[in-house]
């Protein structure tokens, strides 16, 4: 188990934030970097998909998406009963944890490439489809099917958001042009990926440091929740990945996605759909606890879990 150097940049940003250094990534640079990461992830997936047919994708994507709905449905009663949170807060946090984090995915791919493990190209397709089901479930848990909910605005915010648009767009570009025609692009989006990811992680560290106060408000229950739920989700990911017959890398990436919690798409969507929910709680947990846990300990741990499970299966 070893930690990827991009995580070092996250630690640096965190330290700078805690020291109240003047280091900050401007909104424009953060936006540019997230655009780059989304395109890079989509493009890589698309290029690998150019060898696959659409039929090979439908069943695994469908299973993975269906299974992803378990997380918010399990998290919600835990938050209500054990955490004694009010309904809107519990529903909003459940939605954050059911949705996915693109940057945690990126750290996962970076880790796998360093240890030389390959994964199925359609993992980035999954990223598209794992983002929004949990958000809808969260709104339903909070309000049921309520006419007051701004469904149109919510649907627009999520489906026309840059994450979905860029991931799908880059997937299509990679898939249509394939590896041969997009060679020059892969130098920018592939070879330089880790460099840009390290910059983004630096910014994430600074932002996470600014969330430390929220963590104090969130209390010990949410801190524990932010660690235990991702680990449970990751175990589920390993089991489902193995049952689906994914490769070791694919199973690791499925676990990473199930374990990750959203902190960009979900907060924006929840502010629109469940305004009564306190954003400091959900963001404090997903960004203050789960994101650092996943990138530092989670990703290598989930990979080890998958390796252990595959060895066990091999023995059996």
């Amino acid at each position: 188990m070893s930690i990827d150097p991009v995580v070092g940049f996250f630690g640096l940003g965190l330290l700078a934030g805690l020291l109240r250094s003047d280091l900050k990534l401007s909104g424009g640079l953060s936006d540019t970097l997230s655009i780059y990461l989304l395109i890079a992830i989509g493009l890589k997936g698309g290029i690998e998909l150019s060898h696959a047919t659409l039929g090979q994708l439908v069943v695994p994507v469908l299973i993975a998406v269906l299974m992803s709905t378990i997380t918010p449905l399990v998290a919600f009663p835990i938050l209500r009963r054990l955490g004694r949170l009010v309904r809107p807060d519990a529903a909003s946090i459940a939605a954050h944890y059911g949705s996915v984090s693109v940057v945690t995915f990126a750290v996962g791919t970076s880790y796998l490439s360093r240890v030389g493990v390959d994964y199925e190209g359609y993992m980035s397709v999954l990223l598209v489809f794992l983002e929004f089901p949990a958000l809808i479930i969260g709104v339903l848990l909070a309000k049921g099917i309520n006419r007051d909910t701004q469904w149109r605005l919510l649907a627009h915010e999520v489906l026309a958001g840059k994450a979905i648009v860029l991931l799908i767009g880059a997937l299509l570009i990679g898939w249509l042009w394939g590896a041969e025609s997009s060679g020059a692009l892969t130098r920018f989006y592939g070879d330089m990926f880790k460099g840009f990811l390290s910059l983004f992680m630096l910014g994430m560290g600074v932002v996470t440091a600014s969330r430390i106060d929220d963590l104090r408000r969130a209390g010990p229950f949410l801190i524990g929740f932010g660690i235990v739920i991702p680990m449970l989700s990751a175990v589920g990911g390993v089991l489902i990945g193995m049952a689906m017959g994914l490769s070791l890398g694919g199973t690791t990436m499925l676990s990473v996605q199930y374990a990750s919690a959203s902190y960009i798409a979900a907060p924006a969507a929840m502010r629109i759909a469940i305004p009564e929910a306190n954003p400091a709680l959900s963001l404090g947990a997903s960004l203050g606890v789960t994101f650092p846990f996943n990138v530092v300990i989670g990703v290598p741990l989930y990979h080890e879990m998958a390796k252990w499970a595959y060895r066990l299966q091999g023995v059996a």
Binding site: S210, A268, R271
Partner: protein, 99 residues
Amino acid sequence: MSDNQTKLVVLICEEALEPIVLPEFLAAGAKGYTVCDARGCGTRGVRDARWLSANVRIEALCREPVARRIMEMIETRYSDNYGLVIYTVDATVIRGDKF
């Protein structure tokens, strides 16, 4: 009120509210608005305009009844759940028929 006397409605709120309230400004009768990023500190904490922590300042010049409708709309529908400050001031404009 002479044609050049209008109200300036200023709403400082979290960015998430922008797409929700802008159509309501127009529906209340405002002919236009100006939006810019804002940072500062208030009862709900510090908004330093860093990434994921943005506030916006929405301004609209309008007639007094429109300003009142906007204030009421914000108070009844959004002030409980969103971090916001809203106020109006008197403003003297040229080409008052635009507002």
